[in-house]
């Protein structure tokens, strides 16, 4: 949702909005980390029982999300 909103704003306002959108994305990733850690901490045991560590979960999900964000911005820039 955040990525889609950022792409829409980037499409509308262009490269001048990049810096603000970048920091908006970073802040929302931080908020997602905080709320998931607070409200979904019990579910970590599911993944640990499968051998997936907290670090692997966080690094993979946040990195994939951020890559999708950057990739979408690049594509929008080219097709705009």
């Amino acid at each position: 949702m955040i990525t889609v909103a950022c792409i829409w704003l980037f499409y509308k306002y262009g490269i001048s909005s990049y810096s603000a959108l970048f920091w908006l994305k970073i802040v929302t990733l931080g908020l997602i980390y905080y709320f998931v850690k607070k409200y979904k901490s019990k579910e970590i045991y599911y993944y640990q029982n499968l051998g997936i560590s907290k670090t692997t979960l966080w690094v993979s999900t946040l990195a994939i999300d951020f890559c999708i964000f950057i990739g979408s911005l690049i594509l929008t820039y080219h097709f705009r």
């Binding site: 979904k40 579910e43 045991y45 599911y46 029982n49 051998g51």
Partner: protein, 218 residues
């Protein structure tokens, strides 16, 4: 092959309150080790320490005499059923059994009520049904040991008896560490029964010990 889990040297305190200080227990393949204790004695903390998810000043957790500090990184060695629901609600029964590499047909034979629910996310299950899936997945998980924190809570008596049979069969392949306040089931199942009292473990020899150590009034 027989495997051994030994735990000792644990020291845990919250503020000035000493929780665990003189702990020793041993669990081997083929054994069910029961741990009983009053509320607040540190049973769940002890399991979290063994699992490595609760950090303490000192501990010694040994699998076949090899020290392991972060057992949660080794699901081949140990799996853990916490006392609360831990399976993400969006997952279906099929997905859960696939993740744990378990045979769903065997489960559905034991618990036929779930046949119509195999493709539903477990958010649509009742609390007891969710617990049945969680307890079953951990008991049957392909680890050398499993720790079960209150596996019988929220489960109806007829299902508890089923789980006791499953545990007796599964212990041929692995070791179990169980705690629950439904102590008669724990006494019935356990090969070694420990009482946790004032930070210390006491290996009981007869059911009168439960009264002597202040856990029940017989």
């Amino acid at each position: 092959m027989n495997h051994k889990l030994e735990v000792d040297g644990i020291f845990l305190e919250f503020g000035n309150r000493k929780i665990l200080s003189d702990i020793y227990f041993k669990c081997e393949t083929g054994n069910i080790c029961g741990i009983l204790g009053r509320n607040g004695q540190g049973k769940s903390c002890l399991m979290n320490i063994v699992y490595g998810s609760l950090k303490v000043e000192s501990k010694s957790i040994r699998f076949d005499n090899n020290s392991i500090f972060k057992a949660y990184k080794r699901p081949d060695l140990i799996t853990y059923l916490p006392q609360f629901n831990f399976i993400p609600k969006s997952l279906t029964l099929k997905r859960i059994f696939s993740d744990f590499d378990l045979d769903i047909t065997e489960f559905l034979e034991s618990f036929p009520d779930f046949k119509i629910k195999a493709k539903q996310p477990i958010r649509e299950f009742s609390g007891g049904q969710r617990r049945i899936v969680e307890v079953y997945a951990i008991i049957k998980s392909k680890s050398l040991f499993s720790m079960l924190d209150e596996p019988f809570s929220h489960i109806m008596p007829i299902q508890i008896e089923k789980f006791k049979q499953i545990l007796k069969k599964e212990k041929e392949k692995k070791g179990f560490l169980i705690t629950d306040h439904m102590y008669r089931h724990i006494v019935d199942l356990s090969d070694n029964l420990y009482i946790l009292k004032e930070g210390k473990t006491y290996l009981t020899k007869e059911s009168e010990d439960l009264q002597t150590l202040g856990y029940v009034k017989l």
